[in-house]
Every structure is written in structure tokens, then in C-alpha cells.
């Protein structure tokens, strides 16, 4: 039985090694002139721990690396266009949700998953998923230790004058230049979200899930969508 499992595992690893990415590495463009630059390679000052303490993530080779907890932007946003680049370490011994896990939480509540899902059939908890809400349209992952890009359009939830939610938030996402989420409504905050209620504005949160994922070129354009 064990040898069968081992053979299956080896096959799974081999088939992943042989996978060809659909996406291509994307060149970095400078931020648009109306962007709020959150991380340009040196200072992590735009971020803090959720309790307001300074951001403990360290800066390595112009990137910021996960360490010491989730971080949130000091500023809050409503609707926005977000760009960021991420780098997942190669963790050959790890599997599933332990394999290079992190995440981008819009308003601290709605997660676009980051994970080493290269070569897999993407499900609703894989990289590019709106976590446990929507699998990506295509597996647009690049292999670990490659810089990847997310370009996200976020339409914040809408509320009436009594503060009742009238429209859920919506997300469109490109990963490495490929459309992976198309104007998807997010019916509820996703797992491990920041402890706060849905609101017209909120911070951006980057998740510490125990893996040394790196981020760079983080900017967003605050928008007012119809």
C-alpha cells in the first residue's frame, strides 16, 4: 500500500515538474502617476501590524518578506485598482495549503489566495482563487521562485443610509497578465480575515501564513466606481 502511495506521489511530483506554464513572466511597469505607492523596494512604513505596531516584515533585495504577522496598510481605501508582485519560495517538502501560502485581503476581508499551485488543476483554495468563493478561470501560475503579478480591480461593498449592505464587493483579477476572475461578487468575508465588519473603506492586508513569501512593487489607484 505504501509503495502504491509513494508511486502516486512521485507521479504527481513528476507531472508537476513537466508542466508548462500558460502565463509568461511579466515585465514591471512603473506605477501610474495617480497611484498610491505602498512599497517601492525600501520602506515598509505604509504598513503596520493590525494593532498599529510597526511592520516587522524584512526587506530583502528590494522585496518585503513575510515575517511576524499579518500586515495592514495604515491608509484605508474604497474602490481601487491594485498591483503587486509576489515570489513564492520553493518548498518541495510541503504540500497543499502549506506550500508557499500567503494572501492579499482587500479591505482586510476578501482574500485573493497566494500559494504554490503551479501545475495543478486550480480549485477554490488555490493560487488566484477568491478563497473558498471562486476558483480561478485558468491556472495562470508560474513556478516557485519566479516573480508573479496580480492586477486587481476591487469594487467595495455598498451600503444604504441605515448601514445595511446593499451590494456585495466585486473583484476582477489578472494573474501574470491572464484574466482569472471576472467581476466576481464576494458574498462574505473569507477565512482568516481581519476582525472588522464590512465597510465602505478598509485597509489592504497581506497575510503571514508561515511561509517566506516576498512582495514588491505594491501600488494602488483609489477609484470611485459607479
Amino acid at each position: 500500500m505504501q509503495s502504491v502511495i509513494r508511486a502516486l506521489l512521485l507521479w504527481a511530483v513528476a507531472s508537476q515538474v513537466g508542466a508548462e506554464p500558460v502565463a509568461r513572466e511579466q515585465p514591471s511597469a512603473p506605477p501610474p502617476r495617480d497611484a498610491v505607492v505602498l512599497f517601492a523596494g525600501e520602506s515598509v512604513e505604509a504598513f503596520a501590524l493590525p494593532d498599529g505596531q510597526p511592520c516587522p516584515w524584512r526587506v530583502v533585495d528590494g522585496a518585503m518578506e513575510v515575517r511576524g504577522g499579518n500586515i495592514v496598510t495604515r491608509a484605508e481605501f474604497g474602490d481601487c485598482q491594485l498591483h503587486l508582485e509576489f515570489w513564492i519560495p520553493d518548498l518541495p517538502g510541503a504540500t497543499g495549503q502549506a506550500k508557499g501560502n500567503s494572501g492579499v485581503y482587500l479591505h482586510g476581508l476578501y482574500e485573493v489566495q497566494i500559494l504554490d499551485s503551479f501545475g495543478l488543476e486550480s480549485r477554490h483554495n488555490d493560487c488566484g482563487a477568491i478563497y473558498e468563493v471562486a476558483a480561478p478561470l485558468v491556472n495562470a501560475c508560474l513556478p516557485p521562485e519566479t516573480w508573479q503579478t496580480y492586477d486587481i480591480l476591487f469594487r467595495a461593498p455598498r451600503f444604504d443610509e441605515a448601514g445595511q449592505l446593499t451590494e456585495p464587493p466585486r473583484l476582477s483579477v489578472f494573474q501574470n497578465g491572464l484574466l482569472i476572475q471576472h467581476n466576481v461578487a464576494v458574498p462574505r468575508p473569507t477565512r482568516a480575515h481581519l476582525e472588522r465588519a464590512p465597510a465602505p473603506r478598509g485597509p489592504l492586508m497581506l497575510q503571514d501564513h508561515g511561509c517566506a513569501v516576498r512582495y514588491r512593487n505594491i501600488w494602488l489607484r483609489p477609484l470611485t466606481l459607479k
Partner: protein, 220 residues
């Protein structure tokens, strides 16, 4: 006094760089699942309106408008479309991409314009102006990334859902799943169809295109 007037006028005038866009880097290769419509070498994926081979000029990895509109030989339904364009240095700069041959996303020089209309670059032509000026100067290659969800029809051929577009110009998000109310511009008799070719417009200007590809999607 005259100098003071001049300075005040300068101060009141809109800044010359009325654009939020940053220069774009050289493009990456098309994704592996893309239908490449123009790779820099030939126009085999296109035809003229009458079916004849296009007469656009292929040079330096680009195709330049000449001798009429061109249509993709294949028809498509929903897709992600990418292309780069370069406007001529002076004069007329008008062209455009018509999704399904009838829904135009405008290509023209609108760099530096403070107030944009439905005829400016980034507009859903004749319907929706771009909310920001995302243009670059004529000397620079610019990029469009467009998501198109085709109109939907019932069994009798009646349109039941309008087409929708998402548009990024030079990486700046301009339209998000926006409804296109009908055929753009004044084209009585133009047909809306479930599947149709992509058209690049000859509007008399020597606009160049390169790196033209699309990925078929199912946005049901």
C-alpha cells in the same frame, strides 16, 4: 503687466502632462493559450471586408494601416484581447478596434487633454468616455488589454443581454465590466451577433499595431 498676465495664464492652463499613465515596458510573449493574430511577420489571420488579403504594411514587427479595415478570419465569442499601438508622429491619428466588428474601443491621440469625451482614446466610442486620461505621447507604444463578453441571444435570435467590456489602457483600468448599449457610432443596419471577427479600423491614419493576441474565454 504683460508678464504677469502671461504667468497667470500659464498657471491657469492645464498641465501639459494630463495623463496618469506611465511608459510601458517591452511586452512579454503571448500566453501559451493565446490565439496569436499578429506576431510581427504576416497578416495571414486577417482579411479585408470583401475577403481579399489585407494591404496593410508589415515592417519592423508591426502592421500599419493601409487600404481599408481588416477583420480576423476567425470569429470569436468572449475573449481577452491584447495589442500594442503606435500613433503617427503628426496629423490624423484616428483608428480603433471594433469588437465583433461593431463595438469600437477608440484609438486616437488624446494625450494631454484634460476633458475627455466619447471620441477620445480609451472611450467606448460614442457611449462612454474614459474616466481618466491614460494616454502616452505619440512617440511611445501604448497597450490595450480588453475583456469582451459577447451579447447573448435567445432561441429566436433576440438580443437578451448587451455586450460588456473591461478596458485597461497602458495598465490603467478605465472600464470595468461596462455595458455597451449597442453598435457604436452611426452604423444603421450593422448586425450584432453571438460570434464575430475582431476588426481593426482604417480611418486614414498610419497607426501601427503589434503583439496582437487574444485568449478565448467562456464568461457565462
Amino acid at each position: 503687466m504683460r508678464l504677469a498676465c502671461f504667468l497667470i495664464c500659464l498657471w491657469l492652463a492645464p498641465l501639459p502632462a494630463q495623463s496618469v499613465a506611465a511608459p510601458q515596458p517591452d511586452p512579454a510573449a503571448p500566453p501559451a493559450d493565446a490565439v496569436v493574430l499578429f506576431d510581427g511577420t504576416n497578416l495571414d489571420a486577417f482579411r479585408k471586408a470583401n475577403g481579399a488579403a489585407p494591404t496593410w504594411v508589415v515592417a519592423d514587427g508591426a502592421m500599419e494601416v493601409k487600404g481599408g479595415d481588416i477583420f480576423s478570419r476567425r470569429s470569436f465569442r468572449d475573449y481577452q484581447l491584447h495589442f500594442d499601438f503606435l500613433l503617427p508622429p503628426t496629423g490624423n491619428s484616428n483608428s480603433g478596434v471594433k469588437l465583433h466588428g461593431v463595438y469600437e474601443i477608440q484609438v486616437i491621440d488624446s494625450y494631454g487633454k484634460a476633458k475627455l469625451g466619447a471620441g477620445d482614446c480609451g472611450a467606448i466610442y460614442s457611449f462612454t468616455p474614459p474616466p481618466h486620461n491614460a494616454c502616452l505621447p505619440r512617440t511611445q507604444w501604448q497597450t490595450y488589454d480588453i475583456i469582451f463578453r459577447a451579447p447573448r441571444f435567445d432561441g429566436e435570435g433576440k438580443k437578451i443581454e448587451a455586450p460588456r467590456v473591461t478596458v485597461l489602457l497602458n495598465g490603467v483600468w478605465l472600464h470595468h465590466d461596462a455595458e455597451v448599449p449597442g453598435v457604436t457610432g452611426n452604423h444603421p443596419g450593422a448586425k450584432e451577433l453571438p460570434e464575430a471577427p475582431v476588426m481593426f479600423q482604417d480611418h486614414g491614419a498610419a497607426v501601427r499595431y503589434r503583439n496582437v493576441w487574444l485568449r478565448e474565454l467562456n464568461l457565462d
